[in-house]
Every structure is written in C-alpha cells, then in structure tokens.
C-alpha cells in the first residue's frame, strides 16, 4: 500500500484471526500513512524554519531536527496538505 511504505506486511497465514490485536501499545506499529497517495516535499531554499507546519500537521508527522531542518515521516503522513496551507513561504508541495 502507498509508497514509501517502510513496513513489511504479513501474509494471511501469519496474522492473528479476526484482526485481533494481541499486544497493547501497538499504535506505533500501525503505519497510519499507508493509504495516502501524496507526500509533502520541502524546498530548503524557501524554508525559514519557522516551524508553523510542525504545529499544523494533525498527524505530528513533521519533525524538525536539532538543526531545525524540517523533514516528514511518510509512514504517518496522510497527505492532507494542512502543512502546505500553513506555510507562509509556500515552501511545501505535495507530490
């Protein structure tokens, strides 16, 4: 599913019956961005590292590192474009 899928999906023979979830705290394993068909790309030249997109993202999928450089975690990005709208510099494009 989707592109940039980092998760290895299991066969029907290797999953619990009836879609059961056997261990708690498994939200981390559930790559919620698997169904999006577009992901954001950041134009480093335009970005002022203002962090507005980080706050705008409903999935907390945008990270900024120690150097304040912006990156997106595609496993959780749902392609909603809220970050695109939030960016005052038009530095983000969905593709």
């Amino acid at each position: 599913m989707g592109y940039n899928q980092s998760q290895k999906l299991k066969s029907w023979k290797d999953i619990p019956p009836a879609g059961l979830i056997l261990s708690p705290g498994n939200s981390r394993e559930n790559k919620t961005g698997s169904w999006s068909n577009k992901k954001p790309f950041f134009d480093d030249k335009k970005c002022t590292q203002c962090q507005l997109c980080v706050n705008a993202c409903p999935e907390a999928a945008i990270n900024s590192g120690k150097d304040k450089k912006i990156s997106v975690n595609p496993d959780y990005c749902k392609g909603c474009a809220a970050c695109v709208e939030a960016c005052p510099r038009k530095a983000i494009k969905l593709n």
Partner: protein, 389 residues
Amino acid sequence: MLAQTGAQAAAEAMRQIDPDVVPVYPITPQTPIVESFSKIVADGLVNSEMIHVESEHSAMSAAVGAQAAGARAVTASSSAGLALMFEVLGVASGMRLPILMNIANRALSSPINIHCDHSDSMGVRDSGWIQIYSENAQEVYDHNFLALKLAEKVSLPAMVMQDGFITSHSLENLEILTDEQVKQFIGRYKPQYPLLNIEKPVTMGAIQLPDYFFETKRQQIQAMSQAREQYDAVAQELSKLTGRSYPKIETHNLENAQAIIVVLNSTAGTALAAMRKLKNEFREKVGLIKIRLFLPFPQEEFREIIKKAVGENLKTIAVLDRAVSLGSDAPIAKEIKNALFDLSNKPQVYSYIFGLGGREIFEKDIKKVYLDLISKKTDHQVKYIGLRQ
C-alpha cells in the same frame, strides 16, 4: 422418547447445551423456541443468563459481546428478525465467534406473511455463517449439537434451520440424549482469545484498513473450507451417540435412478414419502438428494455423487427451491449448477420454485415432478409448483 414440536426440540437441545448467555427477541414462528427456553430458565434448569433485548439487532449484538467475552451464546430468529440482524451477522462471523442460532424459516416481507419459505436464511447466505437444514424435529435437536461443535472447532457461527410452523409447531416423537452425553459431546467452550482474560488482554473488532482487511477475509474463507473438511468427523462422533447419520448430502435410491429431486428441510420428508408411494416401475427410476449442510456447500461431494449416478443412469435433476433469488436462479439451483459445471458428462438441471409464503406442497406435486422428469415432459423454463397460472 418425548412428544415435542420442532421449536421445543430446539429449546430442549439448548437446555442440554446450557449456554452461558441467551439474548433473544421473539418473532413468529420462532417464538415458541424462546418461550420454551424461558420456561426452562424460569424453572432453574439451566445456568443461562437470558437477555430480553429490544430488537434482533440487539440480540445478535449481545450474543457477539457475550461470545467475545468468552461465553457460549445461543439465540434464535426468523424472517424479518434475521433480516434486522444482517449487519451483526457479519460481525459475528468476521470476529470468528461460534454463536449458535436456531432459525424457524419464514417468508420475508413484503407482502407481510408469517408462513414458511426460505427467503430469510437464503437471504443471509453470504454472511459467513455455517448453515445446516433440518427435515424434522429430531434433526433440529441433533443438528444443534452438531452445529455447535463444528462452529467451535473452526471459530465460525452456525445456524440450524427448521421450517416455520411445518416443523416448529408440529408434534413429533423425539429421542433425546442424556444430559451427560450432551455435556461430553460438546465439551467446555475454550475460546482462544476471550476478552475477559485479563492475563492476556486483546483488542477485538478494531479497524482494518486496505493493508490487512483482505488477509483477514482470506482467513475466513479458509475457516469455511475447514468447516467443510471437519464436518464428517463431528457428524460421525454424534452418530455414535444417536445411532442416526448426518451426511452433508443425504442420498436415497440413487442406484439406477434416471431422475432425482434435490431439496432441503421438511419437504425432503414429503419427497421421500412421495417417492416411496410411486408405482414400482417408476420408483426404480427415481432418487432423492436431501441437502443437510448447505454452507459451506459441499461441492466436491455433490459432484462425486452425481458423477457416479451419471455413470449408472442419471439423466435429469430437479432442484426444488423454497426461495427465489429475484433476477437470478434460485439459491440451491444456482449452487448445484455451479457444482456440476466442470463435469464433462452433465445431467440436465431443472429449477422448480415452490412453497413461497407457506404455499402447501403435497406428495402429488412431488410425484408429478418425478413423472414429468421420467417422461421428459419438462424444459429449462423455471417451473412453479402449486402456483395458479
């Protein structure tokens, strides 16, 4: 030996199963099942918790909750009640909960009609439930144990059908097992992942998106095949207790038969009586197939039986359906044509519709079908038995 109606037979089987939870909503002609069972509960003969819900949707939802918790849940319904459960039937099978349900078959509205046909259970045939059809009260009783054990083996729900009024309200002789024999046969229910096991918490019924939903459905398909495979072993074990046999497909007089009728539920009894009363010269030429396990449909077995019969003498099959699939072939006719499609030497398959909304079918009607088949006075037009032309 007891004198019991089909409905009482179902309630008696439920008494011996002693389910943990019985959520029900009454509906004609299923009502005497829950009525009889509520008396059993009031008399303190079972430990069952009976839940009087406000609708069949709630009845099945409560059964799902109870079974998921790790309890044995049994319920019953008919017609519009079963239709109202439709959404939750898929939840029960999708969550792989082996709930047992007795169905007294009744026509679906509209026009409103309380009498027997199979449009209710045939209407839910894609919902992932095992379906076993019963000719009489004795089979209703026996099939309850068979269905429950099979259901729990493969983690799929199962329904046991009986004809509304015809079976549910008619008194018959009933041989019953001892409570101990039933207990031994069904054993304790050992759910793999009960919700109430706090040592091993699980989440049930969570969302599955396109990445896994398909895989979960594939498991359900597999469980249905397993039900088909494991049926015979369960049936044989029950046979040892009762002395009666429960083949998926019951055959009568197929050796040398040129023409056979395929039918299920009470009309199989009518057909057998009609066949036995035919004159010798005709009787030798006809046979009868009664389908007991309708879902999962035993395609292979059916094909093998027909292959052998064709090798002997078989030319024609009349499939008698007490339901229609509007805009398509009738449900059983369709299954049978599907099962025979790959046979190189196929008999002719004719579809007959009968008994909608409780329209009576008599031995003379069945006799006429046989005589028409033998004298080749039939064609591929669907025929309607007992309908005014």
